[in-house]
């Protein structure tokens, strides 16, 4: 082993049926280093992490750790933890039935006289979260919190384990800027304590902000390891995609024709719509061809609001008009008949249907809209599937692969495809770019703008404000479950948004 390195992986090979996920990959992590692992969706980042931590077995290769004289193999995450590797996986892994405190401490609960000391555990959990500025009741079960909070808790758990190696697989995908900032502070602290950190993300700014080194994977192969300072952004992207790519400048909102919408073009009109205890009544109008963003802090109720619009959640006050017709959806299908589509933020629990194939996952919404007895012919199904695999560049062994064995980003693309296929008039996208690589992300943003141009009304939620500024014409600002403002045109900029979010305080 090189001196100073805590972890070395050499010549790692891993094959899934139909996919060579890792081929001859090397990876070295030094002490006190933040090391970015980069690559497109399906490049093999998560797989590399999984074979390291024993979730998956690798075929050949070796893994060396700082203090071991011979190669180690982790057969389970438990063994990996014993070797000082603590991990936050891409898909959040917490037990929904346990409290926040337990999720933080399970397996290493504070004990007194051999018995779990709940008081101490809750207290320490509270401190830990306060440290990270997360405000959550540690005695509540975890399923009562949004994805973002859960992600913070998963991070808190990993961080608290005082490991030698900390692995974060896309921890920031659903966090907004302030949370990301908190996380970075923490990472820097751990770094100064000598912890080696592997950091997977699709946000280039974040990489350049905290990482010392970058390792790039493409199609399961190692492209190279570089020092951050020596690898310009453009080159990084080129290495990831295998071709030159101008990542950001690509899109700019062209015609921000605010106010130029006619009343006939109203697609959605909410009057005093609300849900007691969650969403305070709000009014909202969305026109044909408009992209409206929802912004706010973590847990401000953005997701909840769009769920109410879609009819995924019962409303108990107010009215909703879709294209002038009153809609009281008892079931999402009624909203779908009116031309709505909704991409939920919780991909794992509300998006993918894990054991179904890519094909079935893609066509299922369209099928549901057509009805039970109008089965799409196999040929049609396959045509649609191929079209979207091509259009969204979904990386999959074939169309019959179960969606659960796709990489996170590719799963997301399938779900986006699912809704596009229904050809909606009103499309709700809650964090559509979560976990999607830079290349495709811009594609998706372009797609949204194109669809809007073609006459679709779109609601777009993202924890990344810049992304929203690029795509949206109007922003709805939420705070504590109520709509506190609407910004458009000139007033739509970062600082204005921030001050609206902060509101009177």
């Amino acid at each position: 082993m090189e001196k100073d390195s805590v972890l070395e992986m050499r010549h790692i090979y891993k094959t899934f049926p139909g996919v060579k996920a890792l081929q001859d990959v090397d990876f070295t992590l030094a002490k006190g280093e933040i090391h970015a692992l980069m690559g497109e969706n399906g490049a093999g980042k998560s797989t590399l992490i999984k074979v390291l931590t024993g979730v998956e077995e690798f075929e050949t290769g070796e893994i060396m750790m700082e203090d071991s004289t011979h190669p180690i193999i982790n057969r389970s995450p438990q063994e990996a933890q014993k070797h000082g590797i603590s991990t936050v996986y891409q898909e959040i892994n917490l037990c929904p039935n346990l409290t926040v405190a337990e999720n933080l401490f399970i397996g290493r609960e504070p004990r007194r006289f051999g018995m779990i000391d709940w008081k101490a555990m809750n207290k320490r959990a509270g401190e830990l979260l306060a440290d990270l500025d997360i405000f959550a009741d540690v005695t509540k079960t975890i399923d009562q919190y949004s994805i973002a909070v859960q992600q913070m808790i998963a991070i808190a758990r990993a961080v608290d384990m005082s490991a030698k190696v900390l692995i974060l697989d896309e921890p920031t995908s659903s966090l907004d800027d302030s949370e990301v900032e908190k996380l970075f502070r923490l990472m820097r602290r751990l770094k100064s304590e000598g912890v080696g950190i592997i950091f997977v993300t699709h946000f280039l700014e974040q990489v350049y902000e905290v990482c010392d080194k970058i390792t790039v994977l493409r199609n399961g192969r190692l492209i190279g390891s570089y020092t951050t300072a020596e690898l310009p952004r453009v080159q990084l992207v080129a290495k990831m995609m295998g071709k030159d790519f101008d990542d950001l400048a690509a899109i700019k909102q062209t015609d921000g024709g605010t106010g130029s919408y006619r009343d006939e073009d109203i697609v959605i009109k909410a009057v005093g719509l609300g849900r007691k205890g969650y969403i305070k009544p709000f009014d909202l109008v969305i026109h044909k061809g408009e992209v409206v963003g929802f912004t706010g802090l973590l847990g401000s109720g953005r997701s909840e609001t769009v769920r109410v619009l879609y009819g995924a959640e019962r409303t108990d006050e107010g009215e909703l008009f879709v294209k002038g017709k009153k809609l009281a959806a008892k079931h999402p299908i009624h909203s779908m008949y009116e031309g709505m589509a909704y991409l939920p933020e919780d991909r794992k629990n509300e998006g993918i249907i894990a054991d179904l194939s890519v094909r079935e996952n893609l066509i299922i919404a369209l099928q549901a809209k057509r009805g039970l007895f109008h089965l799409l012919s196999r040929k049609q199904q396959e045509e649609f599937t191929d079209k979207y695999i091509d259009m969204l560049q979904i990386k999959t062994a074939n169309r019959e692969t179960p969606i659960k064995s796709l990489s996170g980003g590719n799963q997301q693309k399938v779900i986006i495809g699912r809704w596009l296929l229904t050809n909606p008039d009103f499309l709700i996208l809650d964090e559509p770019t979560r976990g999607i690589d830079v290349g495709t992300k811009t594609e998706i943003q372009k797609l949204v703008i194109r669809l809007a141009k073609e006459g679709m009304a779109v609601v777009f939620i993202s924890s990344e404000i810049e992304e929203m500024l690029r795509t949206c014409e109007r922003m709805v600002v939420m705070r504590d479950g109520s709509k506190v403002g609407e910004l458009s045109g000139e007033e739509m900029n970062q600082s204005a948004i921030m001050s609206t979010i902060a509101g009177g305080q």
Partner: protein, 337 residues
Amino acid sequence: MKKKFTLNQTSFLLLITIVLFFVMYAVGCVIFKDQGFAKTQNFLNLFVSNAGLIVIGIGMTVVMITGGIDISVGSFVAMGCMMLAWMMERAGMGAVPSVLIVLLTGVVFGLVQGFLVAYMDIQPFIVTLAGMFFARGMTAIISKDMISISNEMFMGWAKMKIYFPFGGHVNRKGEMIYPYVYPTVVIALLLLAGAFIMLKYTKFGRSIYAVGGNEQSALMMGLNVRRVKLKAYMLDGFLCGVGSILFCLNTLGGFVEQAKGFEMDAIASAVIGGTLLTGGVGNVIGTLFGVLIKATIEAFITFQGTLSSWWTRITIAALLCFFIVLQSVLAMLKKKK
């Protein structure tokens, strides 16, 4: 922020169960007031006659929390009773070694089932269904004929009464009779308390919940999921051993058809008590009340005393249905709020 006292869904379900039990018992006391439903002894009989079920319900609850199920318990009880009867009556063994052997058998049985579930990844329902067939068949292999127990020490345990110093009444012969329980009740309640503490305050206990809540997550959080499951089934096996001994102290013999359908009683008790078959949620206190509710329903039927056989079944089912639906509706109302 003001911290409101809010019950979460699970404790709410438990509370419903407990309240409904007391309401039901009170109703019984009113309806059958002339027939002695309200006697202390009648209440204690709920425990006396169900000590074995309580213990087995605990084991069932534990495996159900891991997301499993054990439908072999009824057959295992039959086998356990038959083993006890055979060892003491046919092989002339003492009561103590016989009891120990049954306990050991329980643990081994649990070990094998647990191994198949945890390490071979076979579905619990199927493993324990095979266990059910196996135990029932073994019972027949040990002896096709029923065996009556007459071992002195064992009979001594069975007949030992623990009297309460109060609440007595005068019987028809004019003697004062105080309410009593058998040691089986004490054992069952002790185990219940032990299981409660184990589930709430030990690492193993919490791991059981974690595994049931989300196996994949539990694994990724670094728990040894397989070992936890194996241990849960072993504990269940041990409790089945104890349960069958308690059962045998009540029925004092072994025969092939014994405890048929007992697994359904245990599962129903656990579920009525708020345990989810999907795992991750459950509480042994709930299971105790589940048992008591079932016992009370049965007591209703017996006190009523005019139902024909088929009406008995239908009435039990109707009461069960009423109870389960009420529970579910209340839980849904609470969720809506």
